[in-house]
Subunit: 330 residues, 2 copies
Amino acid sequence: MALSEFELIQRYFAHIVPSLQNISLGVGDDAALIHIDDNCELALSIDTQQTHTHFPEHAAPQDIAQRAFRCAISDLAAMGARPLCFTLALSLPEADEHWLENFSAGLTQVAQEFSCPLVGGDTTRGSLSITMQMQGSVEKGTAIKRSGAQAGDVIFVSGFLGGAAAYVELLRQGTPESEPVDHARELFHADYYQPLPCIALGRAIKQYATSAIDVSDGLLADLQHICDASGVKAILNVHSLPTRPELQETFTQQATTLALTGGDDYQLCFTVPEKYAHNVIKLGEDMECPLTVIGSITEAANGEAIITCLKQDGSILDISTLANTGYSHF
Amino acid sequence: MALSEFELIQRYFAHIVPSLQNISLGVGDDAALIHIDDNCELALSIDTQQTHTHFPEHAAPQDIAQRAFRCAISDLAAMGARPLCFTLALSLPEADEHWLENFSAGLTQVAQEFSCPLVGGDTTRGSLSITMQMQGSVEKGTAIKRSGAQAGDVIFVSGFLGGAAAYVELLRQGTPESEPVDHARELFHADYYQPLPCIALGRAIKQYATSAIDVSDGLLADLQHICDASGVKAILNVHSLPTRPELQETFTQQATTLALTGGDDYQLCFTVPEKYAHNVIKLGEDMECPLTVIGSITEAANGEAIITCLKQDGSILDISTLANTGYSHF
């Protein structure tokens, strides 16, 4: 599209939000927040996945179901919300019973894993498209928004980056799906189809984090959303980006680009005041969840909410030269 | 599809609902009900509209937006819920700015009419598809479900039936959209694209109604859902069906079929214990909302939750001979 998704939403839809008392947070964050009672807010997030854009045409129905659910629930993780339930709008070209059985099996498994039941839906005939809306709840006033990052904060990211994009890259290079699977490919496949939404982590860091986002469009794109919403600048230490050894081995030169711009990792990127950084590191150790400090937040000089990427030798990486792998089309 | 939507949902999705304390009502009613606090429940309903299935390819974007919103919010009316906010997942083949401007204008207008703001969404590239989820709230334990109808209840329907189906029928007969518009066609067009979701009516009848559904698939199909969910039988007086004079004039013989099986009217069909029928009639008069008694509920002999249609002379109309116009494809 000529317009980015972000521009399109800002221009045509962001204003359809009359200022109502019960809307705590509208269009433009990971989830909307609705005031429910004195104790709790409802977090809502809707996500669509389509053939060719979000998965290849012949992806396994279990994988499609798992991925759609995991990507959708990840927005709740980024708000520090607890999953409540989900709804499903499913568009299908035909009612293929074998496909439906496997899709249903994948969905049942992941819904049970997150104790997040399906409560309603709609089925229509059309090209394959899966829209899920996640409902979550969060203690009033404690949700982690994109807009709270401040100069002096350190930037954390969870898990490993670039694995999902590596899978997409392997497919793009034409490695057939049926080829004998090696260890790295198996890892990247799981990174892509079975990302681990950081629900528990989001709940745990809520007390320290000033902002958070889930890495769905790619680290640079998503961190940029935090910078824009918070009106701050980010310094990113490129050599600190957490990647699997398998990513370095398989892609060498390209690994950094995949980690910076590859979407679909669904890790959490969040900011924490420096004085709490050690609490967060301790928390990650206790949860056996890898957490890495990848940079810091500074004031936006002249209001420029930009990201500066530093290489290990202190020189600046020109990010305009990176091919954007953040939005995949199969 | 070989499977009906209802069968498909029952077979593959109805079980993905672990029994959780906070889910008051899951898959299979107009909306799901989520327990929020001691006073209120959240009503959730998700709906998809697609080109060719729900509107013709060149329908005006304002009309598409209005219709999608009105159809989606109608499910809240059928539960007696108050609209809270909505989300939008929009799939577009291209970012046509003229189309988007008009779609946005139509959506803004109708969202304001119902004081129901857009709080979040997702846009993807693909064939045109509009999924909206409506969030509503309802006082705890007072939502009108499909399952409460009892022998001795009378059956009401609001407004007029068959108008939306008449518009679809005119298109099917090949009357060009551009033809000089006569009064009847204008009415049917409005019935189709601008149905009037009965939010206020749903709120008002809540104290009397034992069951309710909005007429989206056609009166027979939707009343059948009430019979199935409640385990009762319905006697429908076909000569009592409320239709516009214009429907009779334009379609004569076919008018009854359109009123019985034509979907997309988004009127409320609901049941009320006989002793409260006069209260409901009074209520309709006060609200200037036409309400018609169209039949009654009896016990389901041998558990057969069927509908019997009586003609004015007391003979039975064989509904198996009616062409189903309840699910339209353009």
